[in-house]
């Protein structure tokens, strides 16, 4: 099945053409402000994906041929808009892609098989919690949320990596305990409950992770981690009890957090009526939906909408991270926005496909968990920026600007490809 790699190469070439057109479009629209040398970002970006492709040829020759091009397309969309907002940020993002590629290749060439990770599940789980706790203690607060860790001059967002570690932990733990968790140890009010010692570590770990994140004011990551937890428990056990209890806990917990933290109340109020405080709390969401609305069906064209004030700051606060979807929807319209969402859906389709054909439970749970992570994260931020749900600051996977996000998503992709490659190899 060597043809998988050729298919991937052709797909990447298609992405290359699209990326080139996108960058040229931005360049022609804004050539007064940006120099032609910045166009090399596009070439550089494509070279990196070609390196990733070669890495796959060497390490995972049977891996899925769609996921890399799909993620490349998403990254290209993001990079084009970041370039459009500020070419300097695009340069940084390119550097992050290099680092992410390093992580990607390291995972593929050094680990190679996802099942090796299973034996480290507790270590990785504890590492996830430790990362969050350290951030809580010595983290840097930016925009009211304490989710940054300063390591040797660069800022790392541990939440982005904790999600990966949590998925690996849950996949390993649930594979081991899923039968025990499905079995009724004793019955209370006619509902079968598993033994507390099996359920305990699960609840404890998740509770700690969520508690820490809630203290850090990072509601986006909290929702993401909890959602991953619920989905993976559901896939592993199939017991409605867990889903129902999980959702009930979510509602109760949300209410509690809402009552206790003014920050969350504020976010909720802004969601209900941003126009009550149009110049302060509501400003970001108002600018976002006005930007989206401005796009219409076919958009204003790449580089042709109003995104940057004359002093260089973006119209939408945090446009390159939280607001990137709004910028994309403005410039490419409903057509482009729906296109981007459908790429996520295709990504989900390939990811869940990999999960369903994988031949061991750990790999299944891992692939399903990782795929769901990408989709849920995309839903949280796109839903937030379109005012479907309260806005929580979280990155749009592969698209948003941000080092931690880029690197962690590259690693996520490597893990998914590992699962797919192994399945194909075993099948053959």
């Amino acid at each position: 099945m060597r043809s998988a790699r050729f298919r991937e190469l052709w797909n990447l070439l298609a992405v290359a053409v699209l990326t080139g057109v996108g960058f040229l479009s931005v360049y022609t629209a804004r050539q007064q402000e940006i120099t032609s040398t910045s166009l090399i970002y596009a070439a550089f970006f494509l070279a990196l994906y070609f390196v990733a492709h070669l890495g796959l040829r060497a390490g995972l020759p049977d891996a899925d041929p769609w996921l890399l091009p799909l993620s490349a397309l998403l990254t290209a969309m993001g990079l084009t808009e970041i370039y459009r907002l500020n070419p300097l940020l695009a340069r940084d993002q390119s550097i992050w892609i290099v680092v992410g590629l390093g992580g990607f290749l390291a995972l593929i060439l050094l680990v190679g098989d996802q099942r090796k990770l299973e034996s480290y599940k507790y270590t990785l789980g504890v590492a996830a919690v430790a990362m969050l706790v350290i951030t809580m203690l010595v983290g840097t607060t930016i925009n009211g949320a304490k989710l940054w860790l300063r390591v040797g001059g660069i800022q790392v967002q541990p939440g982005e990596f904790a999600k990966l570690l949590l998925v690996i932990f849950l996949a390993g733990y649930l594979r081991e305990k899923r039968e025990l968790l499905t079995m009724a140890h004793r019955r209370i009010l006619g509902v079968g409950l598993p033994a507390a010692r099996h359920l305990g570590p699960l609840l404890a770990m998740t509770g700690v992770a969520l508690g820490v994140v809630a203290v850090m004011n990072d509601m986006g990551t909290a929702l993401l981690l909890y959602g991953i937890f619920l989905a993976m428990v559901y896939v592993a056990t199939g017991r409605q009890l867990y889903t129902v209890a999980g959702l009930a806990l979510f509602v109760g917990g949300s209410f509690l957090v809402y009552r206790l933290t003014p920050h969350v109340q504020e976010r909720f109020q802004v969601w209900l009526d941003p126009w009550k405080t149009p110049h302060t709390n509501g400003y970001q969401i108002i600018q976002s939906i006005e930007s989206i609305a401005d796009g219409g069906i076919f958009g204003s064209g790449l580089g042709r909408s109003f995104q940057v004030f004359s002093n260089g700051s973006s119209v939408i606060p945090a446009a390159q991270t939280d607001g990137i979807y709004a910028v994309w929807a403005n410039e490419t319209g409903l057509a482009g926005a729906a296109g981007m969402l459908l790429i996520y859906l295709l990504f989900a389709y390939r990811g869940f496909k990999i999960a369903s054909v994988a031949d061991d439970s750990f790999s299944k749970l891992l692939a399903a968990g990782l795929t769901f992570t990408v989709v849920l994260q995309a839903f949280l931020i796109v839903g937030g920026i379109t005012r479907l749900i309260p806005l929580t600051g979280i990155t749009l996977p592969f698209v948003s600007y941000g080092g931690s996000s880029v690197v962690s998503n590259f690693m996520l992709l490597a893990l998914l490809l590992m699962v797919s490659s192994r399945t194909a190899r075993v099948r053959r």
Partner: protein
């Protein structure tokens, strides 16, 4: 586990659909509402890139509003400039980025920004956009006369008040002046200061928004109702013995403590006898008087091509609200322009223009035509008859009565050379002793009216005949002197 993975995928597909729908909601359904919001930065940005159309005086070449072009960040932006400064501040209004817009800049915004749905404009705009060229708005040619406006602003200097002049045969507004004025070039910078209560409300267009007791000028309305009722002719004699009469238990007196004796209706108007007109009003009755007022345009905004937020209906006001037309009134005091009457200068200008136009009320208008930058015609205002308020005979009788006011009565200060002016003075009490609202309404030449005018001066110790009439005279000469008169 596979069925559950399938369920998870379906959940994701559902979420994707919901997100697409929500994006579509903003981009299709909510888009136009959001785009028009003043807090929308894109709106401001786009407005600055549009080269708004010119606003011109009636002569077609005096520029009242134009643009200064600047280059910023590689973009051409256009800032609004008003070459004549405060002179046309009120009728033209202002167009700012942060403080909104007013006047014709607001009511004609679609034409000025070429967003009117006219086919040639739409095609031109798409062409401009495709070529990356600046969208250029259409030019608005107003009916405003430069000499008339200059004379009006000059006459109002040092007073708070307003002048509105109308061409009787067409309804075209020739002058619309209001003081204290403001400079539209600096309105954005001084917006907070201009809105301070101590500033004397310079942004208020007193011509269309100022509500004043009309005093004796309202006797023209009362006389219209009286003559139309058939109960009165100009020569009907009325007993005006005594300086005061009791109307609804409160004494009502003539100005200066005069006694009228037995006088004709014409004499009563000439010398403005309150005691006589109160009786006329009572004889006419509330119903007939209100019907005449409605015909003249009272109780609703003037049908002017001007922002409705910047116009007020005239009528009887109670606690800042227009009184119901069924509410009981002191018709005797309404007849002499007191009671709770609040009337705008433009309303009184319409009254006197209607008399001048042989009893037919014309739709007032500020815009003569709209043309494309290339000179193509987009829109032309055609004079429109709204309603016949009185018979031509009544109009002639009123004209002769008003002629006498200027020749031998209270309005002699409005006599200008060999020109025949017909008019009526008014001096309304303000409730503060020693301070009046002074009025003069007039049209000229009396036989072939070219201009009808209403002048109001706020809080003055003087009288309509002494302070308002000379201003009217100046505006009339300035306007007719420019060769409009034969």
């Amino acid at each position: 586990m596979n069925p559950r993975i399938g369920t998870l995928f379906k959940l994701c597909a559902g979420a994707c659909l919901v997100l697409i729908s929500f994006t579509a909601y903003w981009q299709i359904w909510a888009a136009s509402g959001l785009a028009a919001r003043q807090d929308n930065a894109r709106l401001v940005y786009r407005q600055l890139q549009i080269k708004r159309g010119l606003i011109l005086a009636a002569n077609g070449h005096t520029v009242l509003a134009t643009n200064t072009e600047r280059t910023k960040d590689g973009l051409n932006i256009f800032l609004r400039r008003y070459p004549l400064g405060p002179l046309f501040g009120h009728p033209i209004g202002y167009n700012t980025v942060g403080s909104g817009r007013s006047g014709l800049e607001l009511s004609q915004n679609d034409y000025l920004t070429a967003s009117n749905a006219d086919l040639s404009t739409v095609l031109g705009r798409i062409g401009d956009k495709l070529q990356g060229e600046t969208v250029t708005g259409n030019d608005v040619v107003t009916s405003l006369s430069v000499p008339a406006q200059q004379a009006a602003m000059q006459g109002l200097k040092g007073h708070s008040g307003a002048v509105v002049a109308i061409e009787p045969s067409t309804g075209r507004v020739l002058a619309m002046a209001s003081t204290p004025g403001y400079n539209p070039n600096t309105v954005a910078r001084n917006f907070a200061k201009l809105n301070k209560p101590s500033s004397g409300a310079p942004l208020l267009n007193r011509g269309t928004q100022g509500l004043y007791a009309p005093g004796s000028t309202f006797k023209v309305v009362t006389a219209t109702a009286a003559l139309q009722s058939g109960k009165f002719t100009p020569n009907t004699l009325i007993n005006g013995h005594g300086t005061c009469i009791t109307v609804q238990t409160v004494p009502l007196c003539n100005a200066g403590g005069e006694s009228a004796g037995v006088v004709s209706l014409s004499d009563a108007l000439t010398f403005s006898y309150n005691t006589v007109f109160a009786q006329v009003g009572q004889a006419v009755g509330q119903q007939r008087l209100y019907a005449t007022m409605r015909d003249y345009g009272f109780f609703r905004d003037p049908p002017l091509d001007y922002p409705s937020d910047e116009m007020e209906p005239s009528g009887l006001y109670s606690h800042g609200h227009l009184l119901s037309q069924r509410a009981p009134i002191d018709v005797g005091r309404v007849a002499i322009g007191q009671e709770r009457l609040g009337v705008t200068p433009i309303q009184m200008a319409e009254v006197v223009a209607t008399v001048a136009n042989h009893g037919v009320r014309m739709r007032p208008s500020l815009v003569d035509r709209v043309v494309t930058p290339g000179g193509g015609n987009i829109y032309t205002t055609h004079p429109e008859q709204l309603v016949r308020v009185m018979s031509p005979q009544t109009a002639n009788e009123l004209r002769d009565m008003m002629r006498r006011v200027v020749e031998e009565g209270t309005g002699q200060a409005a006599n200008v050379g060999n020109l025949s002016v017909a008019g009526k003075t008014g001096t309304a009490e303000t409730g503060v002793s020693g301070l009046n609202t002074a009025w003069f309404i007039a049209f000229a030449p009396a036989d072939n009216p070219k201009i009808a005018i209403a002048v109001t001066i706020e809080r003055t110790p003087e009288f309509g005949g002494t302070i308002a009439a000379p201003i009217a005279a100046k505006v009339i000469t300035a306007y007719l002197g420019q060769g409009v008169a034969k």
